[in-house]
Amino acid sequence: MSEEIFAPLAGAIIAINIEVGATVEEDEQAFVIEAMKMETVVYCPCDGCVKGINVKLGDKVEEDDVLAIIDA
């Protein structure tokens, strides 16, 4: 069963703290998005293994874009 990490708001990806294949825990810091000169952390929604990451550093994302997929 996989869960997706959605972008909670529009902005630019300024940090990616997870890797494909890594094991992550719920509430771990996954990404940092910059919007309105503010950094917003996006957290992992569940425990699991990172199946794929859809963005790279500097990408501009919209609200609800899928940033990564986690296999729970």
């Binding site: 708001l9 529009a10 509430d27 919007a35 309105m36 503010m38 957290y43």
Partner: protein, 372 residues
């Protein structure tokens, strides 16, 4: 030859310095320090601070009516009410009304947060300020620099400098002033309310909004026309997506150029005679009260609205009705995140934030209609 040398010596401004001027140099320097060392609204406070120093240099005549360089910037840029509306053209080009259109109910928070404006108006009246002065002090609570400058120029030009400094200083202090008020008026459960996502806003809506808003607001409050027209034109540029060169110029070159010519003459109006009046301390006091009451009013209004709504609004959003864009929206997000780190309030907070800009312009238009 000796006489000429003596004349040059005697015309040095040095001998005409007064203690008042030296005090104003200090004040100007403090603003420059706050801008550079503390990052307080540097785009405005730096030129304002320097303008204050320049206006308090004897014999330089920079603010000499009819002749002075800074007087010309002031007269043609500010007294002719050209620069604040052009700033608003840039603001409109930078503003995204999407979050407001996605959750239109948030417009009430932008309106409610103007309560501080009216409270400060009445408070200033009781102290003894006349109607025009009280209105100008009140509008500081709208947290909008160009609107404050626009209204002060029309109603109380002798207070222009002080009101502008108060407005920009309190905007810079929003991260310090707002959170205690927000925490005092909300329960921990209310602070963690998650907002349901707003509806999708179509491109057509984004284009129609500035046109309709212009018509509706200017028909109701014609005195708000200069600011509202330029704000909505800038926004139309942005949303039309076919005039990217104009949008870009409005957001960047034009906005940056007029910002230079806004701060400098505003600071230059603050000479020692104008500033060292006992009344001036009340400008800063009531301006602060206006900010705090506006924050409280926005939060309380959200709580009242929740009594009638199935889908609750996080009351913290009310504080974003104080239209220091995007500072108060950021503050709302940060306060919310302290209690629930996965509560992403920023984009929701932009709704009341941009609504507050419109609210403040309307409040200024109302004052102008009644008093101008």
């Amino acid at each position: 030859m000796g006489n000429d040398l003596l004349a040059v010596f005697q015309m040095a401004g040095l001998f005409y310095l007064t203690p008042g001027m030296l005090m104003m140099w200090l004040i100007g320097s403090v603003l420059i320090y706050l801008a550079i060392a503390k990052g307080y609204e540097p785009l405005l406070l730096l030129p304002i601070g320097f303008g204050i120093i320049l206006a308090n240099l004897p014999l330089a005549g920079l603010m000499e009516p009819g002749e002075g360089l800074l007087w010309r910037f002031y007269h043609y840029g500010i007294q002719w009410e050209i620069i604040p509306p052009i700033i608003f053209l840039g603001v409109g080009a930078l503003t995204d009304f999407g979050p407001l259109l996605a959750k239109p109910v948030l417009i009430f928070l932008g309106a409610g947060a103007q309560a501080g404006v009216y409270l400060a108006f009445f408070a200033a009246r009781t102290i003894g300020f006349d109607l025009n002065e009280a209105a100008t002090i009140g509008i500081i609570g709208g947290a909008d620099g160009p609107t404050t400058i626009f209204l002060a120029t029309k109603l109380a030009p002798h207070m222009l400098g002080s009101c502008a400094v108060a407005a920009y200083s309190y905007m810079a202090l929003v991260p310090i002033l707002q959170p205690p008020v927000m925490r005092l008026l909300t329960t921990s459960r209310e602070r963690t309310i998650r907002m349901k996502k707003g509806r999708k806003v179509t491109q057509l809506e984004r284009i129609i909004f500035p046109i309709v808003a212009t018509l509706v607001i200017i028909l109701l409050v014609p005195a708000a026309a200069p600011l509202m027209a330029m704000l909505m034109l800038g926004n139309l540029f942005r949303e039309a997506k076919v005039v990217e060169r104009l949008t870009h110029a409005s957001q960047n070159e034009l906005l940056n150029i007029v910002t230079i010519f806004l701060g400098l003459p505003v600071g230059a109006t603050m000479n020692a005679e104008a500033f060292f009046k006992p009344k001036v301390i009340f400008i800063f006091l009531f301006g602060l009260v206006a900010f705090i009451v506006s924050t409280a009013a926005g939060v309380l209004l959200a709580k009242v609205m929740n009594l009638f709504r199935k889908e609750k609004i996080n009351p913290l959003l009310g504080a974003a009705g104080v239209s220091a864009v995007p500072m108060s929206a950021r503050v709302v997000h940060k306060v919310g995140a302290r209690y629930d780190k996965k509560n992403y309030l920023l984009m929701f907070a932009m709704g009341p934030n941009v609504a507050g800009v419109i609210g403040t312009v309307i409040a200024a238009g109302v004052f102008l209609t009644l008093l101008g």
